[in-house]
């Protein structure tokens, strides 16, 4: 059963149910499209934050179900090559009917152990941060029989943490994640819609013990807005907001160094050994005083929406996938390289950042096959 191990195989069994034919009346489908750029999802709502499972056999991602009330953010699992979703987790428990629940970070181990962060916010109330954000440890077979490891906001050492993203297993009891801080801003002085804006804090390493999990910031990664382990775990590569540089630091921390400088905003990085893939888009953030209080807003301009490769050894930047340059072309973000095949999955369309609430254009996942040799 090459390519299918532990977690995904187990989840496939779960998805197939047992002898009762009615549980899965529709056989799972393979990918709809094929080719170098394969669209994986077609949701009219948001699909975002892709992450490979530890064994590379599947793609986890967050999605919003069309028409769902409340609009919970669910996490789903796609096969590595695309096709029908084979597993999903939505917090539809009766006690959660009055809240919006989002799975904002998730990591699935080869043995089925599941690490996820769930944020719970009161439904229908604008301008408030989630009331509860918790890091949970569980098993994918029974995801609500879980153990709370950490509640945030909290601290990683002296680094304030109000958000965790891009979590990944690094060992049986260790993980790595992106710590962020966020605030809620009025979209405009008299707007009733609020935006959430994230500020990168640092890459953090987590250790799970009997009392829960502890976080420790990796020195030299202050302000990171996206990251990736590289060079077989020896280093951490990361980006910063409004910074066109790609940085690298030793995995244990230390002084950062610039790997390369690109020409556009970096909206995500993923590395495999010495090759990294970055999403760079013509996005700008600016502060403006349109009233009191001041607001920060971003804009998407003309310019290539592209995936570029960066060599860690030489710093060479090469454009690999260009979606287009016109205003109608959606942006690309959060690329993730498969740990097995060199395929890259990325989020195409929609907004950016780590808390999207609008669904004007929607965003979908795309798979770029064999992008990284």
């Amino acid at each position: 059963m090459s390519g299918w191990t532990g977690s995904v195989a187990m989840l496939l069994l779960l998805a197939c149910g047992h002898s009762d034919a009615f549980l899965t009346p529709n056989p799972p489908l393979g990918p709809l499209t094929s080719g170098a750029d394969e669209q994986l999802t077609f949701n009219t709502e948001q699909d975002y934050w892709p992450a490979w499972t530890e064994d590379g056999a599947g793609i986890l991602y967050a999605f919003v179900r069309p028409g769902a009330v409340p609009q919970h953010r669910c996490v789903g699992l796609l096969p590595a090559g695309g096709g029908s979703r084979i597993w999903q987790l939505c917090d539809d428990r009766a006690t959660q009917r009055d809240s919006t629940n989002g799975f904002i970070a998730y990591a699935l181990g080869a043995d089925g152990r599941l690490l996820y962060v769930e944020a719970v916010a009161q439904s229908g109330v604008q301008g408030t941060a989630p009331a509860e954000t918790t890091l949970w440890l569980t098993d994918s077979a029974a995801p609500f029989h879980r153990r709370a490891l950490l509640t945030i906001p909290g601290f990683a050492g002296t680094t304030p943490v109000s958000w965790l993203a891009d979590i990944a297993w690094t060992g049986p009891n260790t993980f790595i994640a992106l710590a962020q801080d966020f605030t809620v801003f009025g979209h405009c002085k008299n707007c009733i819609i609020d935006d959430s804006l994230f500020f990168g804090e640092a890459v953090v390493r987590g250790t799970i013990g009997a009392a829960g999990a502890t976080l420790e910031a990796v020195t030299g990664t202050t302000g990171a807005t996206s990251y990736s382990l590289a060079e077989n775990g020896a280093s951490i590569v990361f980006t910063r907001r409004d910074d066109l540089n790609l940085y690298k630091v030793a995995s244990g921390g230390g002084a950062e160094s610039v790997v390369a400088t690109l020409s556009q905003q970096l909206l995500g990085v993923s590395c495999e050994e010495s090759t990294c893939v970055v999403a760079d888009d013509p996005v700008t953030l600016s502060a403006a005083t349109l009233g009191d209080p001041p607001v920060i807003f971003g804009s998407i301009g003309l310019g290539p929406r592209e995936l570029s490769s960066v060599s860690l050894s030489s710093g060479t930047v090469q454009s690999m996938i260009v979606l287009g340059s016109s205003a109608a072309i959606p942006i690309v973000a959060t690329p993730r390289i498969s740990p097995v095949t060199g395929d890259v999955v990325a989020q195409v369309g929609g907004g950016f950042g780590h808390l999207q609430t609008f669904s004007v254009s929607g965003s979908d996942l795309h798979l770029y096959q064999h992008l990284v040799p």
Partner: protein, 925 residues
């Protein structure tokens, strides 16, 4: 050399009303000298090695009463004569078996010993009850699994409705001890215990003219006699199944029966039984397979998911003769039935469908006093004490964990049943935290969130427990050879506890009714006196029964009073020109189901509200029954019985609204009913290799409502004067008003040496065969409009189509080593007839019309018009007409909602069960 007594066409047996209680019969006869036919006085008559002893009188006559039903051994001795022994003397419940004996003097060569029939039981004028008997032999020969199957073959039976009465108007008598589920027999059956056929020596269904000994019934009495242990150990082990069949033939049936009886020491006799019955497709339907190829049931319609039942029954009985005149019996029976219930809304997420568990127990002690053998006025006494308990719970269950077939081997646990048993109606007003909220499911083949549910169960939690401690004393006094007097009484202390909560995932308020609970201790009492006399060919029976009922405790801050009723019964019979005519008039009363004394909350599917107020002041339900019967022995030896009856029901419980809100309705004794009918039964008992029984019933059963939950709304407000106008008590056909029913039962057997011979064996030697054919006219129903809230035409003015079926059983004896046994093939609904037992009331057909489907689909689409993306498990290519990876818009989504609507409304339980085949093997030792 001895010769068997030829019992012939049961000429040796004739019926009188039961001697003691209905668990015994009697033996009479005359002994004559074989050389000169003169009566012989002083002959010792011993039955069962001296358990019963008497002597002949000056006329050579003898009489023994109070003999347990079954087969006995007769010994006849007198010095100077050759003693005679006969095995196989069959005594039937409530009958005297006649066994005349011709004794040969020792000096004379033994002549044939033969019976001389004097009185035909069909013609006995003292048999005034309308009674249909079922013997142990019939239970074995006929395609029946339990007693209920055998009862269903009798004339006048429609499910649990006897002669047009509501379900629950009957009582059970087990070895003379009255049993009734007084809590909710009308909705949940008469008793929680199941009596395995292997434990039964005889049963009878009495539908009119039943003795004043019986109370708590207005439609019928089922009288069952269980076997006593024999003098040698014997038993039966059997296993039957349908698992070898493939495809739709396998409904997951497995049944194991282990029965044994025999002596413990010199005197004690014991019987034990274990009956385990599992069926994966517990409530199978012969509905046609869906025609939509995407529906998984289109190719595999059986079994339905989450539709299994498992029943465990264990019983034991000990008979202890303390002396020649005092016999004690201890009996215990326990049944647990667990069911995973199919719910169409959870068809694709079956593990959220509900389950139920029913536990029943019965323990009885019986002390029987027999008169001295020479007593001129024999007095029989029976003291019985019994405890019965029934507990029922229904609600959310975990996914079944089957160990073997439908057997889980574990107790089925209902979510939060401990809360229900605590009867906490305060904290349960809030949403119960263990209950999730069900949502619309997209797991169906259609992928759209419509009609089918998932995520959590429906939120029902129902529990009740009914227990009773009953003491019963019956006496029979023989006042001469032709007069018997019966008298006695009973007292029962009962306990009722209930709890009901629906939609438990939501707090009480708005349309969500509050939880209901009750805890009270009613009592029942009864006393009777009845006399039976015969003068030549004239028989008289007169009885009077007193019944008392007290709800017990304080209910709804109301002072409750005990209530009572008197029920006289009279019957006159005579033999004229070789036929017996019986005329009977009787009043019968029963207390109402105790469930109507307390509030009820239920999931409404009939648009009559979800709540009923209990009424602790309910009184007796009653009936007056008039019947004329004629019984004729035909020249061929067959019997012909014709019964014409009229029943007037009164005080039946119905729901009466207090104001316009249906949830304001309260239970009251408001309903009346009229049932008239005629039965014709022709019967040829099994002899010379075959027997048959054909019965036909024409009947008309009407009332205002068919069950207590139906709204009785006969009061109108004059729109002009605003006066309250009670309407005339107009009656409609009842839901179980079957106008015509025909049943034919044919049995046959081939002798051990009969049939063709193949390779030295006779494959059909000893083969027993039986077939039961039924035809029944359709039950009535009421047409409504599409919304179901307005009637179209008269109440129950339409009729379902008629139904027919054929059942068959074949049994071939075999020998395995030193053990005898048998192989059998049991086939129900041999022709796989698709009988329609219900209908959609807005169309009068099993299927909804296209307008209904369109309306359902459109409403569902408008409630959830969301697109289905490619990666969603609900997506399938055939619905994505433009191939863009999203099923969206009415053009692509609405067809899916139409197909989902057709799936949801597929008429599963509008049809009766399909053909069910089971193979069995048994060993007899």
């Amino acid at each position: 050399m001895t010769h068997s007594i030829r019992l012939g066409l049961a000429l040796v047996a004739f019926a009188v009303l039961p001697l003691t209680a209905q668990s015994t019969g009697g033996l009479i006869g005359r002994v004559v000298d074989a050389t000169n036919e003169h009566s012989v006085r002083g002959v010792q008559i011993r039955l069962d090695a001296g358990r019963y002893i008497t002597t002949t009188d000056s006329a050579g006559d003898y009489r023994i009463r109070g003999i347990p039903v079954g087969v006995h051994r007769l010994d006849v001795t007198l010095p100077g004569y050759r003693p005679e022994r006969r095995d196989g003397i069959e005594v039937r419940s409530g009958e005297f078996t006649r066994a005349d004996v011709r004794l040969a003097p020792l000096a004379v060569h033994l002549a044939d010993l033969r019976a001389v029939g004097v009185q035909d039981p069909v013609l006995d004028p003292l048999a005034t009850a309308t009674e249909q008997r079922i013997t142990a032999d019939q239970l074995r020969r006929l395609p029946v699994t339990n007693l209920q199957d055998a009862i269903a073959m009798q004339a006048g039976v429609v499910g649990e409705s006897f002669r047009g009465g509501r379900p629950g108007e009957q009582a059970f008598v087990l070895d003379g001890f009255g049993i009734k589920n007084q809590l909710d027999a009308s909705t949940n059956g008469s008793a929680a215990i199941q009596i395995p056929p292997d434990l039964i020596t005889g049963a009878s269904l009495i539908t009119n003219g039943f003795s004043a000994r019986y109370g708590q019934a207005i439609s019928g009495v089922v009288d069952v006699t269980t076997r006593d242990g024999g003098d040698t150990w014997r038993g039966r082990a059997a296993y039957e199944t349908d698992r070898p069949l493939s495809g739709g033939g396998d409904h997951g049936i497995d049944r194991v029966v282990l029965q044994a009886d025999g002596p413990i020491g010199d005197k004690i006799r014991a019987v034990g039984i274990l009956d385990l019955n599992g069926q994966l497709d517990g409530d199978p339907s012969s509905a046609p397979p869906p025609t939509d190829p995407m529906d998984p049931r289109s190719t595999a319609p059986y079994p339905l998911p989450h539709n299994s039942t498992e029943t465990y029954t264990a019983g034991a009985k000990f008979t202890v003769p303390f002396s020649t005149r005092v016999v004690g019996r201890l009996f215990g029976l326990a049944t647990t039935q667990q069911a995973y219930l199919f719910d169409p809304a959870y068809k694709y997420d079956a593990n959220f469908a509900p389950g139920s568990r029913t536990d029943g127990k019965l323990f009885t002690g019986h002390l029987q006093l027999l008169p001295p053998s020479e007593s001129r006025r024999p007095l029989f006494g029976d003291l019985r004490v019994g405890y019965s308990d029934k507990a029922f719970v229904r609600g959310t269950v975990a996914a079944p964990d089957y160990a073997f077939g439908a057997f889980t081997g574990k107790q089925l646990h209902i979510l939060d049943e401990d809360i229900a048993k605590r009867q906490d109606t305060i904290s349960t007003r809030a949403a119960l935290p263990d209950f999730g909220t069900p949502q619309l499911s997209s797991n169906s083949p259609w992928g759209v969130p419509a009609f089918f549910m998932t995520g959590a169960a429906s939120g029902e939690l129902a529990w009740n427990e009914f227990s009773e401690l009953r003491t019963q004393l019956d006496a029979t006094l023989g006042l001469g050879p032709h007069v018997d007097l019966y008298f006695g009484g009973m007292y029962a202390a009962q306990r009722v506890k209930t709890f009901e909560r629906i939609l438990a995932y939501l707090p009480v308020g708005g349309t969500i009714p509050p939880p209901t609970a009750s805890n009270f201790s009613p009592t029942l009492s009864g006393a009777y006196v009845e006399a039976q006399a015969r003068a030549g060919d004239l028989g008289f029976t007169a009885g009077l029964r007193y019944d008392g009922f007290s709800p017990g405790a304080v209910l709804a801050n109301t002072t409750l009073h005990a209530r009572s009723t008197l029920s006289p019964r009279v019957a006159v019979s005579t033999v004229v020109s070789g036929a017996t005519f019986v005329a009977s008039i009787g009043k019968f009363s029963q207390p109402p189901d105790l469930q109507y004394l307390v509030d009820a909350a239920f999931d409404d599917t009939t648009r009559t509200g979800r709540f009923r107020q209990g009424n602790p002041n309910l009184g007796f339900e009653s009936s007056m029954q008039y019947e004329l019967s004629a019984r004729i022995r035909l020249p061929s030896g067959a019997s012909l019985k014709i019964n014409i009856y009229d029943k007037r029901l009164d005080g039946l419980v119905a729901s009466v609204p207090i104001n316009v809100n249906p949830d304001s309705s309260v239970f009251t004794n408001a309903d009346i009913g009229t049932i008239t009918g005629a039965e014709v039964i022709v019967e040829r008992e099994l002899h010379d290799g075959w027997g048959a029984r054909v019965s036909g019933v024409v009947q008309r059963a009407e009332a205002t409502v068919s069950n207590a939950f139906t709204i009785y709304d006969q009061t109108h407000i004059d729109p002009n004067t605003h006066d309250t106008i009670p309407a005339s008590r107009f009656q409609f056909p009842l839901d179980y008003d079957r106008r015509l029913a025909l049943i034919a039962v044919v049995t046959g057997e081939i002798s051990a040496h009969g049939g063709p011979q193949v390779a030295g064996i006779r494959p059909f030697g000893g083969l027993q065969m039986s077939a039961v054919g039924r035809y029944a006219s359709g039950l009535p129903y009421t047409l409504t409009n599409a919304a179901g809230d307005s009637l179209v035409g008269p109440v129950n003015g339409s009729r379902l189509p008629g139904q027919y079926s054929i059942d068959a059983l074949f049994r071939r004896p075999i020998r395995i080593g030193k053990l005898n046994g048998g192989l059998y093939l049991d086939i129900r609904n041999l022709l796989n007839t698709r009988n329609q037992i219900s209908v959609r009331r807005e169309t009068g057909t099993p299927f909804p019309d296209s307008m209904t489907l369109t309306r359902l689909a459109t409403q569902a689409y408008q409630a959830n018009p969301n697109p289905i993306p490619y990666e969603s498990p609900g997506y399938h290519r055939s619905a994505d007409l433009n191939g863009d990876g999203v099923i969206s818009g009415p053009g692509e989504l609405l067809p899916l909602y139409m197909r989902a609507a057709a799936d949801f409304t597929w008429p599963l339980f509008i049809y009766g069960p399909p053909r069910l085949v089971r193979f069995g093997i048994e060993l007899l030792f």
